[in-house]
Amino acid sequence: MTGSAYPVTQFDLTPFLVGSSLLLVVGISALAYILIGKSEEYKDLKASFDKIMRSFNELDEQAKLIVKTDLELNKAQEELDRRLTGLNSLQKLARTMSMTMDEQEIFQKINKDVATDMGFSRMIVLTCDPQMDFTLRVNIGTEPAKTQKALAELMQDPQFLAALKNGTTFSSLSSSQQTRTRIIELFETEHFILSPLMTQRGVAGILFVGNRYSAPAITEGDQELIAILASQLAQSLENSQLFEQVYRSSQMLETKVNERTKELSQVLKDVEDISKKKTEFISAVSHELRTPLTSIKGYASILMTGKVGDIPDAVKERLGKINSHSDNLVKLINDLLDISRIESGRVEMKVAPQNIKLLLENTADLLTPQLKDKGVTIKLNVPADMPLIEYDPTQVDRVFINLISNAIKFTPAGGSITINAAPNLGLGESTFEVADTGIGIKKEDLARIFDEFFRVDNDINMKVKGTGLGLALAKNIVEAHFGRMWVTSEVGHGTTFHFTLPFTHKTPEDKKLKIGDA
């Protein structure tokens, strides 16, 4: 640095250079150290970052699994909800269907709402007769003409025909490729279920449900649900048809019963008219007969007294017979008149509370000569606490006289007659029995024993004359007192006449009304 205008100070740079070099080395070393440190830190950070990224990616992988599981769960829940809604709808439909017996009403219940609730946009119901002629009943989501056309073509499908024959449900899940393709084209549905309506007489129709292409696929559960609906529907149809049959039968029966009742009422009226006329005729004839008979009997009696001149014994004897026969005839006429009066309700009953024991004792006393003559004993069994009974003593006395006289008549010597009386407080009546140990009555005669003029064909009746009116009169009197009379008998062992008398009578108005009906 020569020739310089400025003085130049000479420095020894060696120490500076050495120092600087040292510093540089230290600095570089420090930097290197730091760099190495940072590099390590970076490595650690990168490792951590990679670890976090791996965790994120693992998390994402797990998330994918969660999503997949969640989707499946959602689908399962949706399916379950759909099934529950369908079941709910089915249950509601089944309940409403079971509540109606009208076939038309059943089909009206199957509407678009039901189809929607069950998860279908199409629902078709066809019924058929045994000749497989189908009638369209429900047609939701398609046109009737299309359904008819589809059905006509479906009748050629073997699986469809087999399902009808066997009553099996099939669907787009379970049908053959050929049938599935055919049904999808015919009904314009991607998913379908077809179930026959089976009744006891066989196939009664079909239920078809389906969905268009965008709807979710059907499941086996859907198929089961539709099979249940088809079964319920078939059951309801069968019930409605049975109800219709029963209803029609009952209507016919009712008409017949009404007609028959009308006829019987007419017959009864005719019978009553005839009976009334008969009673009136008997009454009139009896009256007409009794007047001249009384006259005949009177003249015969006068002749017998000899006041109009002596009469020979032979004539007297004949007059006696006239008198005796006249008496019989008068009795017959009186009995007839009594029956006629009772039947027509014209008899005047003098009803008052009576002691039946006294009446029976008197009647027994009255008949003692006859009993003695025949050699028959009589026994009265009347409880001491027998209550008083309301009846007309004259009439009831006639009942006992008729029954006991009959018993005496048909009981051989050495036999016995028992009269039992028993109160039945529960029924408010007393039961009486007049039992003998006589010859008894044959079974075939028992039914007619109370008929007027009926006389059992036996030896005794051949010998002893009678009118055949006694039992008829007795029964009429008992019935006029609102009682009942019946007979039991065993040939060779005896006969028992039973009758009842109520403790108390109806009102006089009732009595008057009832007497004629009895």
Partner: protein
């Protein structure tokens, strides 16, 4: 001062008969000739002019608004077919109804604003307690529409709304306002007068898998996630499981919505992938912030019930001891799908909390909007999918 509310429901197949039966049921409670307002929710196929005429004849409402839906909530019932009605007669509440047609011709925010102005024009009272509305917004930006309504009505008003659809397959919605049947429209009601109103909203979704980043968004369209077409997120999860992702709104996209991370930890905005564009972009019903974390979300029925219980609790707190006159529910149809038959238990939770005498009326939706910015809460206005929104008017 009294408010009487009657509800009615019928599932008769004939729409006219169904409207008649539901109207008569509602009228038996009201015991009046005319009604102030009638809300009607029906499932597909029930909105017919003769049906509406039958309703008008029986209830004679001054205002009639309604929407189609996949499911109707009436008190303790969840019905998937029929007509549900709620009729109000009140001398203490004031109502202003409105409808707006052809909403797709406007931007969503403009449409919301226009709708709010129409509501205000028809509302004669200065008092405004709540607003509820239904709009055709399956592919529409519901967040923007909702913000538009707030532009018109202010931020403090409790607002609840929903998008009811006939079915997830058709994605169609019909509305009625007075005697008109509308499509591509919005209809709603402004409620004013004595009393208070409150709105709450909850969802039950939990994140699944690793978080991803939404790196490209255009309004309510998510373009890419993790530098890949947004749709690849679903493909990652479901194609491995052998499931095909289709362009229709299928179960996969309904049951596993997207959860967009918010500023708060463990809080997610739920968005359904309503549509998929050819480039693999996902269309949502509401705005999606860019650079957000996104998860696939999952839920179950217990979580749904729990979220309902939380929403009901919060609603009770917001009502400050006042018993609601009516509770409206807008609940996601996805939640009903998840809950299945236990969806009615969900209603029991609300009924037990507020009393069985409080009428509950609602519908299942595919998008629920709830305005949660109230004096009691600073939470933001939200459009959500898969949630339950409760609006109480007391």
């Amino acid at each position: 001062m009294a408010t009487r509310i009657g509800t009615g429901f019928s599932s008769l197949s004939d729409p006219v008969e169904a409207f008649k039966a539901a109207a008569i049921e509602a009228k038996t409670v009201l015991n009046t000739i005319q009604t102030d307002v009638v809300f009607a929710f029906t499932t597909a196929g029930y909105i017919t002019p003769p049906g509406i005429a039958a309703l008008q004849r029986i209830l004679q409402p001054e205002r009639l608004i309604g929407s189609t839906t996949t499911g109707i909530i009436v008190n303790d019932r969840v019905e998937t077919r029929g007509v549900g009605l709620l009729a109000i007669v009140s001398d203490e509440l004031h109502f202003g109804g409105a409808s707006l047609e052809k909403i797709n011709l406007l931007t969503a925010r403009e449409a919301g604003y226009g709708f709010a102005k129409a509501l205000l024009n028809n509302h004669k009272s200065n008092q405004r307690n709540a607003c509820l509305y239904f709009y055709d917004g399956v592919r529409y930006n519901g967040s923007a529409f909702h913000s538009g309504i707030h532009d018109g009505l202010g931020l403090a008003l409790p607002i609840a709304g929903g998008v009811g659809i006939d079915s997830p397959k058709t994605l169609k919605t019909q509305f009625f306002y007075q005697t008109h049947i509308l499509e591509n429209a919005a209809t709603g009601l402004l409620v004013g007068g004595a009393g208070i109103a409150a709105v709450t909203s909850r969802h039950s979704w939990q994140p699944l898998g690793k978080p991803r980043i939404i790196d490209s968004v255009q309004g309510n369209i998510i373009k890419t996630i993790d530098k890949k077409p947004a749709m690849d997120l679903y493909k990652d999860y479901f194609q491995d499981a052998g499931l095909e992702i289709t362009n229709t709104l299928d179960d996969i996209r309904l049951l596993y919505p997207l959860g967009i991370g918010t500023n708060k930890p463990r809080e997610y905005l739920i968005r359904n992938a309503i549509d998929i564009l050819d480039d693999g972009s996902i269309v949502c019903q509401g705005d999606v912030p860019t650079e957000s974390k996104v998860h696939l979300m999952i839920t179950n029925k217990d979580a749904c019930h729990q979220s309902t219980s939380e929403a009901a609790h919060e609603l009770r707190e917001k009502m400050m001891g006042k018993i609601p006159k009516v509770i409206f529910i807008f609940e996601s149809l996805i939640r009903r799908k998840v809950m299945g038959r236990s969806a009615t238990q969900n209603l029991q939770v609300i009924r037990e909390m507020f009393g069985h005498h409080v009428p509950i009326f609602g519908m299942y939706t595919i998008g629920e909007t709830a305005s949660l910015r109230t004096p009691a809460s600073s939470a933001a206005t939200q459009l959500s999918n898969g949630s339950i929104t409760l609006l109480a008017i007391g």
